[in-house]
Amino acid sequence: MIDRKHYGIVAFPTSQAAAAAEAVVLEASRECRLIPMPEQISAGCGLVLQTHLDDLNAVLSLLSERSISNDGCYEVRFENRKKSVEEWHD
């Protein structure tokens, strides 16, 4: 179970790309799921890939191996019913 209070997300240019990324990551037996794009990143309605925070490095490697490019990674905190989103750095 990915921690609902503190997790990572990878954004993609399209929801379809996000879905393709999900398939790749699941195949490699890493936990992930598609969730709605947080407003803090973009106002549009799309899907992003949610992962364990500590898995972000591994996930990024997997995606680059398969030449799936991404639109950035973020760290999300959800505390006291409020969400905060920051760009993720290793």
Binding site: M1, L34, I35, P36, R81, K82, K83
Partner: protein
């Protein structure tokens, strides 16, 4: 004393104008003019329900005056414990007007592609878990009963909602119909009487 002219306005305008005035009045007596007896009766009904005193007087065949006053005006302690209008109550857990119930009547959302609809359902329920105000209940019926069944793709989100105090209810008839009555994985079963009661009394959100 504040005067409200509702002559020429038919019900429920006199009531609406009076309600607005009550919100702003701070215990001031209100004098509402209307042109028919029925309006005086509707104003009297509201005043009685709000525990205010009311006096109606017929001035002539087309003019009636209704005086509404707060018998506890000036008694601040009383006012704090007994707010005049239901939505002024200070002691509700949820900010007034924001409580709601989510109704899921299928295992997918919207019309068009069912596959997209299932993805939307997952997105919807995840977003629900991150709302600043959670629903009081989530009601599942017809194919919605499949969402609370073992193996459902949205169980984690529903369980998370339950952990955070949301009541997850599934219609028993529907559970039986889909043959999943013994595989309920989150929340409890309920019956149609309770469902009707909940739907009648709540603000419902049906994605």
């Amino acid at each position: 004393m504040k005067k409200i002219d509702a002559v020429g306005q038919a019900c429920p305008m006199p009531v609406i104008l009076t309600k607005r005035a009550l919100k702003e009045s701070n215990g001031e007596t209100l004098l509402i003019s209307v042109d028919n007896e029925i309006a005086t009766q509707n104003l009297a009904k509201m005043a009685e329900q709000l525990k205010l005193s009311v006096q109606a007087e017929k001035i002539n065949d087309s003019l009636y005056e209704v005086k509404i006053s707060d018998p506890n005006a000036g008694n601040e302690a009383h006012a704090a414990e007994h707010p005049v209008l239901p939505d002024q109550a200070a002691d509700t857990e949820v900010p007034s007007g924001t409580s709601y119930v989510v109704v899921l009547n299928s295992d997918f959302i919207g019309n068009g592609s069912e596959e997209l609809g299932r993805t939307l359902m997952k997105s919807f329920l995840f977003s629900l878990t991150e709302q600043d105000v959670l629903p009081e209940k989530v009601l599942c019926y017809n194919a919605g009963a499949l969402l609370t069944t073992e193996g459902s793709a949205v169980l984690d989100d529903l369980k998370a909602l339950e952990e955070d105090g949301v009541e997850v209810l599934t219609c028993g008839i529907c559970g039986e119909f889909y043959g999943v009555k013994d595989k309920l994985a989150v929340g409890t079963f309920t019956n149609m009487y309770r469902i009707v009661e909940i739907l009648r009394n709540a603000k419902t959100v049906s994605p």
